[in-house]
Symmetry: C2
Subunit: 502 residues, 2 copies
């Protein structure tokens, strides 16, 4: 006879199965589906989202949650029960019809967004965006919140996150970012980033991407890589089927290269989650902030480091001899670490990136406290961009239409990107302590020990610990922006030959 816990896990795995099917429907829409498939896809996604929700909030789940218990010391069961209860409590007051409506609306909104973005016409996307904000307000009301509706939405991606706390953190982050940016902008030494804008044929970029993903440890028997408008990583079949996407720009090497390293970082987390716990919380990532720590660690701490390129430089130059024959490894290192205000978040440098996040966080918070209406979004975006970064988007395509997230109804998501940057620096600093030979290993092309450290310290735990607890457990320190600022200050002091601060 199965125990109540085992029965509960059967339900949870079925919910996970529905979610994975939903991921496949989304992945297919982004990478494969022909344009005229969108209407049927919207109905299919709504059907699956509704079933996942219905199964999670069923009376059966409620009864099993009341009865299920973990044996003493069985931390896996305790984790699974605790996190299932959390998910149940979040979902139970949300009507399934609302879940279905949001799924359907967002499939159509994604389509409308892509078209609006192509023609840089915010007005074409505005009705869908308005609908999604209204629907997500209802969700927040059903879930409930202490301080503001936006908290209820953030909690989906970063459990326990509170907008007011994040805002305080971001104030500090903004101040320190702007101070360092000021020093960089005043530097007389300027690296030449234009070498990254030379001719990089897409076919050879694809070869490079594959090589980078393999060098990092991505298992192509348990995943694949494709091209999409907006790069992402998704899990279709537990750790056995994890898919990344990239986009290539023939005249901007970083887009495909670092985009791939970023998504591969996410994928390594997914491929490293314990397979025996697939589709249960113990087989799931801690939070999106933690997920982002994995992608940013590989993209920035490894991929924008000197050690990594001391191994991969030769191969890179052989792949693009026309573009890179007159470039030294040092030139390249400086080029991939230039800093400056830019319009597009996913192509921003490590330092200004967080300002893009702060802008989105502030705007979303305003949408949900009612102080920003949809029609005013483009101008508010542009004004805020100018205030934060000193540049104004010439059009909505490079402004408020650049991200896919709002078309997915994924409000409350962006802050996790900045948290991920901070976590990544904390983790990498600790990895350097735990693995004294790390730099030499990366320089020798061996990334396996770093990956193994991540698997041991983070991936294997699934959702056993909260994000804050896990950071503290691994690094001995609570969440902190200090390692992030220390790392970047050191890097840019080198790259820009900054004068020491008094």
């Amino acid at each position: 006879m199965p125990t109540d816990y085992e029965k509960l896990m059967d339900v949870v795995r079925e919910v996970g199965r529905f979610r994975a099917i939903g991921e496949l429907l989304d992945w297919d829409q982004e990478t494969q589906m022909p344009p005229k498939g969108v209407t049927a896809r919207a109905d299919q996604s709504a059907l699956i989202a509704g079933l996942a929700h219905q199964r999670l909030v069923s009376d059966e789940t409620r009864a099993l949650l009341e009865r299920a218990s973990a044996d003493d010391g069985d931390f896996a069961a305790a984790t699974n029960i605790r996190e299932t209860r959390r998910a149940f409590d979040r979902a139970v007051n949300v009507p399934t019809n609302l879940v279905r409506t949001i799924a359907k609306t967002s499939i159509l909104a994604k389509d409308a967004w892509a078209k609006a973005r192509d023609s840089s016409a915010f007005a074409e996307f505005a009705p869908s965006l308005g609908q999604l904000i209204a629907l997500k307000k209802q969700v927040a009301d059903h879930i409930g919140f202490k301080t503001e509706p936006y908290d209820a939405l953030m909690d989906e991606y970063e459990p326990g996150a509170q907008a007011a706390e994040i805002a305080t953190l971001f104030d500090d982050l903004q101040a320190q970012t702007v101070a360092l940016l000021g020093r960089i902008q005043n530097a007389t030494h300027r690296p030449d980033a234009s070498i990254l804008a030379r001719d990089f044929p897409v076919g050879r970029q694809e070869t490079l991407s594959r090589r980078m993903a393999e060098a990092m440890g991505f298992d192509f028997d348990a995943g694949r890589a494709d091209v999409s408008t907006h790069p992402f990583c998704t899990t279709i079949g537990g750790s056995g089927d994890v898919r990344i996407t990239t986009r290539y720009d023939e005249h901007f090497l970083s887009s495909g290269l670092f985009g791939t390293m970023h998504e591969t970082g996410h994928a390594l987390y997914e491929q490293g989650l314990p397979a025996e716990h697939a589709f249960t919380p113990m087989g799931d990532a801690v939070s999106l902030g933690f997920h982002e720590s994995q992608s940013r660690l590989w993209e920035n701490l490894v991929g924008r480091g000197r050690a990594f390129w001391s191994h991969h430089w030769q191969g890179l130059r052989e792949l693009f001899p026309e573009a890179l024959s007159d470039v030294s490894p040092d030139d390249f290192y400086r080029a991939i670490n230039t800093v400056g205000p830019s319009l597009v978040r996913v192509e921003a440098d490590e330092l200004t990136y967080n300002l893009h996040i702060i802008l989105r966080f502030e705007m979303e918070r305003a949408m949900f406290d009612g102080s920003l209406c949809v029609a005013d979004i483009p101008e508010a975006w542009n004004d805020r961009m100018e205030a934060l970064l000193g540049i104004r988007p010439p059009n909505d395509r490079e402004g408020c239409l650049q991200d896919i997230h709002w078309s997915l109804g994924a409000f409350g998501y962006f802050a996790t990107y900045a948290l991920g940057n901070l976590f990544a620096a904390q983790l990498f600093t600790q990895a350097e302590k735990d693995l004294p030979d790390l730099d030499n290993q990366i320089a020798a092309g061996h990334n396996a020990e770093l990956l193994s450290w991540l698997r041991r310290k983070i991936h294997c735990h699934g959702q056993r610990f909260s994000a804050n607890d896990l950071i503290e457990r691994v690094t001995g320190e609570p969440p902190s922006m200090k390692p992030f600022m220390v790392n970047l200050t050191a890097k840019y002091t080198d790259v820009y030959q900054l004068a020491p601060t008094p």
Copy 2:
């Protein structure tokens, strides 16, 4: 207030939605999924297949079927009620658990089959095959049958088909085929088919495939084309998302070329079904035999005809100048119409193709009446191949492991391929009567009028008429093998310069 009929259609559309999601899971497995994704995929497919079945056989469906009625003259409603009742009656006695088990087993069996085929080791596939036969026997018993279990399985693909009747038809077909084959084998004139085995680079074959599909009228905004081990056509999102696959052989042009025309023929039917009836019987194909009539009509009656190549020959030669510079259009026409015993069904010529079908039909019938056990399949296959075609497969890869169907549990399917050949000839003969200018149009590269005729005569009707009724309605004759034999006799008399029969 929606009527009972409208409520019934909501259920039917939801069942259709589940089926379409199941199709996506399958398509993805065949074309995209990494190897380690198979375990999770098996569970996902089982989940969706179970839900589709559960919804179809629910008490709600039963009650709605009892109450729903069509207004006088509303043939769409009458068709939908009739065919939903048929589907309900077939499904209602089959336990949902059995449906789930078959779905899961077949996903794993497909994987086992692909591996066994690669290493030409039937023993590796035998356990899965044994399981599937046993499971499908249970299905046949639950559905019920008058004469033999195999009838219950055939009925899924060709409503009303009876093995005994098909066997009689096939006896006649075999006799006439063997007679014509004998005359061809005795002919002194032999066309040179080796030109099709020259160097045809795959990249340019892909260009050709795309061109052929477009020439036939395939809408790439409502579909896509990919590569898979076993070519197929599947419908993911009604007429708005129809996908075909092809496989290419650098040293056999026909495989990719006629494979694409074949699957495009299927796809044109799916893209031509009435969109307003999507996911209901009125928006579905009549039968698999009828489906195959569409693919074979385009592949053989159009694609292996002189008219078609009088338009496309120039482009073909420009695409493959090295391979075809010394070939005349007439040489090419004869090459693509050579006849001879061969091992692989999908690459067989028009005449011997049906013998491959007869072999499979006889073997499956024997599996289900208990006279053929799994272990004996390879030898039985090889013996029968030798008796029918005079050649013996050197290995199982080219013998009993060549087809994907058994790994899908699709027993009872093969006969529809031969029926499709016969229907195709009847339909094309009628099209030539209805469209006196047809040959000239095809020769001028205009296939739109033929497609429009098919849409008007067949596609727009969905399942309004049974296969036999529709053939009679369109051609004025009941199903018959006469046009098929007449066409082929005329063609081969020309190609092989056969002496007239006394």
